[in-house]
Subunit: 204 residues, 2 copies
């Protein structure tokens, strides 16, 4: 975000890691009240700095929001990729991806709500940068499915629809799952994996 | 909604089915700009009536929104139930439910976006009435799964997680599916059914 810094205005606040604190408070507010209902003034107040200090780092609320979601998607990818180094088979890699994704979702719950439900309606503009990171992640999921289909490890009737279904199960958790409940997000991800792995039709 | 009518103010507009027209325009606006960013004044302008005329039917924007989502959920249930009379086996009923749900979603796309993404963040209050209709629908899905588990028609490792996964696949379509594309919503629902029916592990 050095482009932003060079164009920024306002005076930097005197605290440690101000940019990170601004993003953390903004994420909390966006996830609760939504993007539209949250003002930069409220973000500034939550951090305990002036609105001008916020402007020093983020010229607009839109840039702040995009920073949160692109950062989240990049960290999700890194976290999941780090969990895919050990499992050898496509089937084990798919399971590892789903569990790692669920773990990361639970640890970053408010940022996921901000990403997936922070802006209401169909009006949200998705930047090219965000689209790139999303596409890369979806390509990784499809890559595992394609590997499994090629090796015979997985029977995939439709790679695209299967990839969409997997991400739907994981993404929709942001709508109903509450962190720190009796069951971890990864427990549900394990259930989802068993469902799509074994299928509902009884095996002989 | 007769309770509302008796408490209403303002003068009724002179047009056919004004209440239905108000709800249709509100749904369109909520689905595009979101609940927060849409005012009753904008709804009135879209219908071509006064704000007072809108108030005659809906005392608040909240009541208008709740009317849209509860009506949608009730109609979804009726549509799906009507499609479940013929199929005999739990497996066929599950498939019929998923296809009918997808058809109804596509035909009521803007209302689904309003229901599932009309309000941003975690702040939306869900009324008891809406909760009842949702619970009834989820219970119907779980009922089919339980029937299948009992008769041996379906192998269900976890009824609750399976029900959540099915609704996640269908609900998440509201986020990525665009009506009137080259593939119908029911085509994707069919793919999702094949996935959870057959599973990814090869069958011998």
């Amino acid at each position: 975000m050095s482009e932003t810094a060079t164009r920024s205005v306002g005076r930097p606040p005197k605290m440690e890691a101000p940019r990170e604190r601004i993003l953390a408070e903004a994420t909390r507010l966006f996830s609760r009240a939504g993007y539209e209902a949250t003002s930069l003034q409220e973000v500034a107040a939550a951090v305990g700095i002036t609105k001008a200090a916020v402007y020093h780092y983020f010229p607009t609320k839109q840039v702040m929001y995009e920073t949160i979601v692109v950062d989240l998607l990049n960290r999700l990818e890194s976290h999941v990729v780090a969990n895919l180094t050990a499992p050898a088979s496509p089937r084990d890699r798919l399971r590892a991806l789903m569990l790692a994704h669920a773990d990361f979702f639970e640890a970053n719950y408010e940022a996921f709500v901000t990403l997936l439900h922070g802006v209401s309606g169909l009006s949200r503009k998705i930047t090219e940068h965000e689209t790139q990171v999303r596409d890369r992640y979806e390509k990784m999921v499809r890559g595992i499915l394609n590997d499994g289909a090629r090796t015979g490890d997985l029977h995939v009737a439709d790679v695209r629809a299967t990839s969409i279904a997997i991400l739907a199960m994981l993404n929709w958790m942001s709508r109903w799952y509450k962190p720190r409940g009796s069951r971890r997000a990864r427990d549900f991800a394990e259930d989802f994996f068993v469902l799509i792995d074994q299928g509902l039709s009884p095996r002989n």
